[in-house]
């Protein structure tokens, strides 16, 4: 009896590992390919049939990529843009998400429908009008310009509203009876309970900001004011058939995100600990 339980547990564990190992290979394969290619010559990268390993490992592509793009400025701009967008998204979305989930006020449904409508709209239609707003107040070519479309997050509001809906009302009521006002209840009691969701939103916002290609190109004119993704697009124009250089540039562009990931990974784990005892 006991051994059959043990066996089924073992089979299950083996299944989980098999899934993860096959999944990992699929997920990781393009990166391995990128990495290997970045050390090949242009000609080698287009050989039929393709070779796996470069004949000779050369770092020329990395030199070309760093010579064409001001990576230091790109890192700085990208990180500042991500930082402000994350702060704005998490702060404003938490506030609005809490109000929409837990407070009663007139016009709640109408205002919440704005959030849903925004999520339905394709972002391409915002670019020209938003550019014109910024141009009117003379704020193009700035970090603020990069942050501008991400000042508020409809998705974040919706996502955190869902998180607050999952928290029992009794918790808020208890805090309320302890003499907290609405704001204190929100900041001290409710918001900490959504820490895992906030971290997820932060990751999400950061990733989304990082991938934003068109907006930085439109709002900021100079390469020194670009972000990594839009800088890479410029690189693509220059080295359209030079795969190794493109791959080298893409790998270099991943560095800040990898660092951010390592940082937020801790947040996830803390998130579990925080919400574990409810």
């Amino acid at each position: 009896m006991n051994s059959s339980l043990e066996r089924s547990r073992k089979i299950r564990t083996a299944g989980v590992y098999a899934f993860f190992i096959i999944g990992s290979v699929i997920m990781i394969f393009p990166f391995v390919w990128m990495f290997l290619t970045s050390f090949k010559t242009v000609e080698e990268s287009m050989i039929v049939p393709p070779t796996i390993l470069p004949a000779a490992w050369q770092s020329g592509s990395y030199n070309k990529a760093t010579a064409s793009l001001p990576f230091f400025a790109l890192y700085k701009n990208t990180i500042l843009m991500i930082f402000w967008r994350v702060v704005c998204a998490v702060l404003f979305s938490s506030m609005a998400g809490y109000a929409f989930a837990k407070l009663n006020f007139k016009g709640k449904n109408v205002l919440f429908s704005l959030v849903l409508i925004q999520m339905m709209l394709p972002s391409q239609i915002f670019i020209t009008p938003q550019y014109q707003m910024l141009a009117k107040v003379g704020l193009t070519n700035s970090i603020f310009g990069l942050v501008f479309p991400g000042l508020v997050s409809a998705f974040g509001t919706f996502f955190l509203r869902q998180a607050y809906l999952g928290i029992p009302n009794e918790i808020a009521e208890a805090a309320y009876l302890d003499g907290c006002n609405q704001w204190q209840t929100f900041v001290k009691v409710m918001a900490p309970l959504t820490k895992a969701s906030m971290a997820a939103l932060a990751v999400f916002t950061a990733v989304f900001a990082y991938g934003d290609l068109m907006w930085p190109l439109i709002v900021n004119t100079d390469l020194n004011m670009m972000t990594l993704s839009s800088g890479l697009a410029t690189l693509r124009g220059q080295f359209s058939t030079d795969f190794p250089t493109m791959m080298a540039g893409s790998l270099l562009a991943m560095i800040p995100m990898v660092v951010l990931y390592l940082f937020f990974q801790k947040q996830f784990i803390e998130g579990v600990a925080m919400t574990g005892g409810k």
Partner: protein, 297 residues
Amino acid sequence: MAGNAKSGKLAKSESMWAYLMVAPTVIGLLVLNIYPFLDTIKLSFSKTRPFGLYELRGVENFVQMFGSPEFWRANWNTLYFCILTVPLGILLALVVAVMLNTKIKGRTFFRAVFFLPMVVAPAAVAMVWKWIFNTEYGIINTLLAHKINWITDPNIVMITCAIVAIWSAIGYDAVLLLSGLQNISKSYYEAASLDGATKLQQFFHITLPMVSPTLFVVLIMRLMSSIKVYDLIYMMIEEANPALTSAQSLMYLFYRESYVSGNRGLGSAVVIWTVAVIGLVTVVQFWGQKKWVNYEV
């Protein structure tokens, strides 16, 4: 609700706080998003000229749009893309999230692996995959020893796009779902284990209901972004690709009408249609959520 018991004064202070808390988001949305949307609505009823000039004309853009076979083809392509990506993508993301939430060895490594696609610039994603799928020197065809036209065969091209879409999105969805899973208290599982529930029973009776609010967000979001799909197809399928008409989504059609052909009015009509479709799908989902999403009240 708690509000019933409160005095009028308290309710008033509650709504004051509420307005203050939603103000930044609401103002931001009005300025950044709703105003451009109103502009798009206006343009969809106009004959547009370059440099933002237009003349109001009524429904002629819509008449032209509904009469265009390209438009109906784009609708089908978009629907097909959603069918291919949404159910499978979310299912895989949920499986990954659930497994990452268990205490297996190497969890940190696996988690990093599945989130890796999120940190690559989208332009690089398309480039790597196009190359992997290349008919002549792509690694997939080399491994299969077949010459499959992954990117240029009209019958296959959408499947190729869907594979790349799922690959890129699995990390996003898994992050969100994982956060939902981590909000579930362990005490539920402990109690269930004591009652002798199997893991599978625990999944269907605890995990799934408890994660359903997050799953609902993911579903809404994934469906919306699949209907709006543009970047990925734009980067995978070039203008010179014979399979373009089989891969052109609604937003790709919008892009080509607005920016390549310069017909902003017709492009705006496509946007209005797309938003209407998304709106309808979303309303249906909100109506349907009562049947399966579990909120604690």
